[in-house]
């Protein structure tokens, strides 16, 4: 999607948190990324390293926790697992499935010094 902007968003969240929690060095960053959020994980890793250079998270390890895609079929009303946001319902084959999980793009936790 636009992983460079997202990596910059991650840095802003980290910098804001560093002022509140008083840390100056980030060793590990855990992100929660939903399978339906449209984020390319490999691209995110590349952009993360580039954006963090020269900041308090320079060289930080990036851990990505994938969140499974889930949704409710608007036709058969069943909760189903989906891998792509606009896939048809695996049970009845209809569109659309309203996503209920897997859209997350979150900074979950940091390991800091």
């Amino acid at each position: 999607m636009h992983e460079m902007s997202l990596a910059e968003g991650v840095l802003q969240v980290i910098e804001d948190k560093s002022k509140i929690k008083g840390f100056s060095r980030v060793k590990t960053v855990w992100l929660e990324i939903g399978e339906l959020a449209g984020v390319e994980v490999e691209s995110m890793r590349f952009c993360f390293d580039a954006v963090m250079k020269g900041t308090l998270a320079d060289g930080a390890r990036l851990e990505i926790i994938a969140i499974k895609g889930q949704g409710r079929c608007l036709t058969c009303s069943k909760m189903v697992s989906i891998r792509l946001r606009y896939d048809p319902c695996p049970l009845c084959g209809s569109y659309p499935v309203e996503p209920t999980g897997g859209l997350e793009m979150k900074v979950k936790e940091l390991e800091v010094d």
């Binding site: 999607m1 902007s5 969240v13 606009y86 936790e109 800091v112």
Partner: protein, 285 residues
């Protein structure tokens, strides 16, 4: 800078501002790695915050401003060349006698679009995103300051021509409006689903060209509804004027709702003041 889509920072410029507006990050330069201390035990910090939290904060500030002033704001999104600016100038010509209108134009470079809008007699400000591929809520907030928006007015934000990134960035608008022209493929809602899923309304534009094309209108609408069953569709042409009345009525209904909502809030506050004054009087002051 972004190798994926060209997103960048530090080159954004709002027309009329002397300095390029940059985001300031607290970069620490120097030999950080060598001086890293191993004596400190590391600790964990819970964050649980959305990656776009900062943008969302700016967006809610913009949204509150719109609500307090009864402003109906629309975020117009499309690919480049869908006819957004022509459609906008025609829309403004039809609305400007009845409504106060302001426009924010987003493009990578040039103020050509804002110039076209200003030629219609309404105020417009151009944001040049530099390497950026979308407008964000922070840029829009600054542009709003420049425009000094009137109460109960209409704000049209023409986003950068791009069907991908603008979908994720809330600007504080009431609705996103996706504009798709019939010279593009009817399968665009499937190829760029996030944008059509985020939009309240799709304007299927340049319909005066339909006789010369193999564009399947019902199929296009079916694809759009597959990703967004609630999307409303209006067929428009800035050239023939088709659909312009329906589009204008849709805008007018939104403006009326925004103004009424503000009026109700003001009424509620006035009632509250009266109640508090009565309470104060009851305490013998």
């Amino acid at each position: 800078m972004c190798t994926t889509c060209g997103c960048g920072q530090g080159e954004m410029k709002i027309e009329g501002e002397a300095h390029a507006h940059t985001y300031v990050h607290a970069h620490e330069h120097g030999s950080l790695v060598q001086s890293r201390s191993h004596a400190h035990a590391s600790r964990m910090v819970q964050v649980e915050q959305d990656i776009l939290a900062k943008n969302n904060q700016y967006a809610s500030a913009n949204r509150s401003h719109f609500a307090e002033h009864g402003i109906f704001a629309l975020n117009l999104v499309s690919s480049p060349g869908s006819g957004k600016t022509s459609l906008l100038t025609r829309t403004i010509e039809r609305l400007k006698d009845k409504a106060r209108i302001a426009v924010i134009e987003g493009d990578q470079q040039t103020s050509l679009d804002a110039d076209r809008i200003r030629a219609t007699g309404v105020s417009a400000v151009q944001i040049n995103t530099g390497k950026g591929c979308h407008l964000d809520a922070h840029m829009v907030g600054h542009a709003m300051e420049k425009l000094a928006l009137a109460d109960d007015s209409l704000l049209l934000i023409e986003n950068v021509g791009n069907l991908v990134c603008p979908a994720a960035f809330d600007l504080g608008e009431a609705h996103k409006v996706a504009i798709l022209s019939v010279t593009e493929g009817e399968d665009k809602p499937l190829k760029y689903p996030d944008m059509f899923a985020a939009a309240e309304l799709m304007l299927l534009n340049k319909v005066d060209l339909l006789p010369y094309l193999n564009f399947n209108v019902p199929l296009c609408i079916e694809y759009a509804r597959r990703v967004n069953p609630y999307i409303r569709v209006i067929l428009t042409s800035a050239v023939s004027g088709e659909g312009m009345d329906e589009w204008r009525e849709w805008i007018a209904a939104g403006m009326k709702q925004a103004a009424e909502h503000k009026a109700n809030e003001v009424e509620a506050l006035k009632r509250r003041i009266t109640e508090l004054e009565a309470e104060l009087a009851g305490k013998g002051r």
